[in-house]
Symmetry: C2
Subunit: 508 residues, 2 copies
């Protein structure tokens, strides 16, 4: 067999796995948007079967032979070529998967399917104890998984690596500590400011149907292609990619909270633009995938915050909002509205958090999930630890666990190691924003005119089409000229809070 | 290996296949309800992969060994035991599947996925030629499939057998001919009647949202369990079972046609009650499946027509309709309304056809699809043949192919051999109705009081829990005391038309 043949066979198998994975993705999407309650048992069987098939496809002993023959492919000389990138990621994936026993893969698939229902029920009943047995079993299985996967490194890092390939918590910790210190200082400064921001208009009655019309038209203008995607409503917003022509946003609306639906949708639109912007030629291979969840979140946070809470964005879209909600906004001007959507206000809810407090929510989760995986925190003690952290860092006491440690579904889905990618995403997003402004001097004026094409094209060129060519760190450094750091995000937050609250960063 | 072990292994494999098949079912449901247009290519890959996995699972050579060992299982002595029934159906399924080459299975899965989109587009554009290449290829592949499957019998029967196991067109033809003759006579008699039925109120403005509320509450009262199912809207009504706890109805509403949404939903509720009534203990094995599509349609038509157009049904539900649509129905009484929903009126549309003309639509399709499969009709000549048949049998000329041969999606989905099961369903339904009235003398009074439990219990006992214990023919004969015949249906239709139009069957 020639290296060409071996590589082509690997390509074929990779595309085959992508199709199976996309069936699993649809099962997940349906579970969270449409599946009736009674379907959970069967859904568990379905996801177990599909996860088992995927696992078997990756531990096929033929893959190692093919990988070693394909290593001689002339395309593998350039480390940035699709051949090199694909071989590198396949090798890593096969190695990781071969460390996991099938029984663990299947049990995790089954228990996280049922666990998500158990979590949703427990949250609805505000009853942590109802969810505790599931959480205990999931943590136990994820610890087993981490033990299988870690070579010599940290157990938590073995899980983190699934979402942010190559990231190590030892590297994240100093950066996150620095961020925490500055954000606490920023929030304190805002608390001390005498300027108060009027936000009551955001909590007037916003008819749901018109909110939906609004976000659909905004999504379309930002570049979301509805012929290759759709928007549904659900209890907890998420994004799901079934294939290159089928990218699905699930969002939610609140009829007395404009920000909830609008910014949740912008967030998911950011994810969708990334996936819709990947090169379809490479679909089903690593070169056609997003490089990391941190980069994925950088796109969602970029559109939600850097663009979606900027003044040019509202200069363009405010007249449309006023047109659709003439009765709600008759006495409101764009300046007030723009201020309102930028209010800084510590609260219990991550999804609705403002850009300045958001990462404090994440840092709490990052600490707690490391403690759970390292065995330093028993699942039973989670609510107390959660509430302590919220009191200390945000000055907020959740009224119950539904507003506390049950608010997010990640852990019930087994997604330990996911949370830090949100903060990485915020850091990357601010850094991209800085570079985009430098590369596109007209950008803010274009946005104010509703022209998003140049910005989207810049993102496509610098990020989307790169697929997994580089690690997230490399890609950010290459695109922006600097390794990821907390400075661009802090600069952006201080500058915006400076305008709104008249606060200034103390000289450091 | 003992016969017990072999049987248990077959059980496990059967349940495993059912889980894969249910993933394929979800892919199909999603395609028709939610998938964006751009998703069709990926959906084709997904269904091809799943159909391939299912095929491979059935042509596994181990199955024949297991089947022959399990044949010695003591439970196999009684031919009506779950062991016997399961072994019989598994053997038949394995035999059939082993005659099909994988390439044909995969190409059919791919082309029918894409074909359904092509059909929907062509119908929207009223452009048969746009669909023709797909139809030609699908007919070609189905003919190949029939050639592979037929032992010595008729090619069409090999396909029919997938939907109505054991049925032969040679047996159906005399029964269908008799039915055709009598239905034409009945429709002529109604045409000649001087009694006209007022139906204008059905075409007033019926707000869609309230129609949805109505059918949901009616479905719940008939026994549809919403914790184990859901109702969505789509362009063409259908029913889909994802698992024992997940039965999905897709329906549609028309804002100036009450009957369209109401009776389409009742139809699908009939399917759903059958699936929700199967014994979940036997899920994933033949004993836990519906016995045939004819029996399935008997349930949909039973609730749609035998019950849903009966006077006691409307005595109970008319006040509720009036409550929800007080403005629409302020001047209408139950007697007029009951007459209106029983109007006989030949038209171009099968789904909206009344109970008397419905089977004429089916008989036309039955003739045409046999001709297509036997090679007596070229796909290109379908529109002309269709329109001729409609003129002759129903006195109707479709205004275009969207109202003609493009109105149904079955052929685009490769479902040749499905149509006759509708007529079988109508025959079985009327026969069950007769028996139910005999077995439950209080039935009509119970229905008028909104008590559907006794009837549902009778159906559960006589039909649902029987699974595939018998063939449809045997099951009907056992339940009703008579082999299937056209008499009960014709009696029911003449009796109803007698009341409404004052017509009487000529002595035969």
């Amino acid at each position: 067999m020639t290296p060409y043949d071996a590589y082509n066979e690997l390509l074929r198998l990779s595309r085959e796995r992508a199709v199976l994975a996309s069936c699993l993705e649809l099962l997940g999407w349906d579970e969270l948007t449409h599946m009736p309650h009674g379907g959970v048992e069967q859904r568990g069987r379905q996801t177990t079967a599909m996860a088992g098939l995927l696992h078997r496809a990756l531990v096929d002993s033929r893959l190692n032979d093919l990988l070693s023959i394909a290593g001689e492919h002339p395309g593998a000389v350039d480390p940035r070529s699709p051949v090199s990138v694909n071989l590198r990621v396949w090798k890593r994936t096969v190695e990781r998967e071969s460390r996991l026993p099938l029984s663990l893969v299947e049990e995790l698939a089954a228990i996280t399917t049922e666990g998500q229902q158990a979590w949703a029920d427990a949250r609805q009943n505000d009853d942590f104890l109802q969810f505790l047995p599931w959480l205990e079993r999931i943590v136990e299985l994820k610890r087993q998984e981490a033990e299988c996967l870690r070579a010599e490194g940290n157990a938590y890092d073995a899980l983190l690596d699934d979402y942010e390939p190559g990231a190590k918590s030892a590297d994240l910790l100093p950066m996150f500590d620095e961020l925490r210190t500055h954000l606490v200082r920023l929030v304190d400064a805002v608390r001390g400011s005498r300027k108060k921001i009027r936000t009551a208009m955001l909590r007037r009655a916003w008819p749901l149907y018109r909110q939906r019309l609004l976000v659909e038209s905004v999504a379309a203008d930002l570049g979301f292609d509805f012929s290759r995607g759709r928007i549904d409503t659900t209890t907890h917003p998420f994004f799901s990619s079934i294939g290159p022509g089928d990218c699905r946003i699930a969002t939610r609306f609140h009829h007395t909270d404009f920000g909830e639906g609008f910014f949740a949708t912008l967030h998911e639109v950011g994810h969708a633009l990334y996936e819709q912007g990947l090169d379809p030629v490479h679909y089903g291979t690593p070169y056609g995938e997003a490089a990391s969840m941190g980069l994925h979140e950088s796109q969602s946070r970029f559109w939600e915050n850097c663009i979606g809470r900027s003044r040019p964005f509202w200069d363009h879209f405010f007249p449309r909002v006023k047109e659709l909600f003439h009765d709600v906004l008759h006495d409101v001007r764009v300046t007030e509205f723009h201020k309102a959507v930028n209010q800084v206000q510590p609260g219990w809810c991550r999804v609705r958090a403002d850009a300045a407090t958001y990462d404090l929510h994440i840092l709490i989760r990052f600490d707690l999930e490391r403690a759970l995986i390292q065995g330093d925190l028993a699942p039973r003690d989670l609510p107390a630890a959660w509430n302590d952290a919220y009191r200390t860092l945000l000055g907020v006491t959740p009224s119950g666990d539904a507003e506390g440690c049950l608010q997010d579904g990640h852990w019930s889905a087994g997604q330990f190691g996911y949370f830090p990618t949100y903060t990485l995403g915020n850091l990357y997003a601010a850094q991209f924003h800085q570079s985009a402004r430098a590369a596109l001097p007209e950008m803010e004026r274009q946005i104010a005119r509703g022209e998003f094409e140049p910005l989207r094209e810049w993102l496509t060129r610098t990020l989307f089409l790169a697929g997994r060519r580089n690690s997230a760190n490399e890609l950010v450094a290459e695109t922006t000229g600097h390794a990821p750091s907390v400075k661009p995000l802090l600069d952006e937050l201080w500058s915006r809070c400076g305008e709104l609250y008249g606060v200034r960063a103390a000289a450091t």
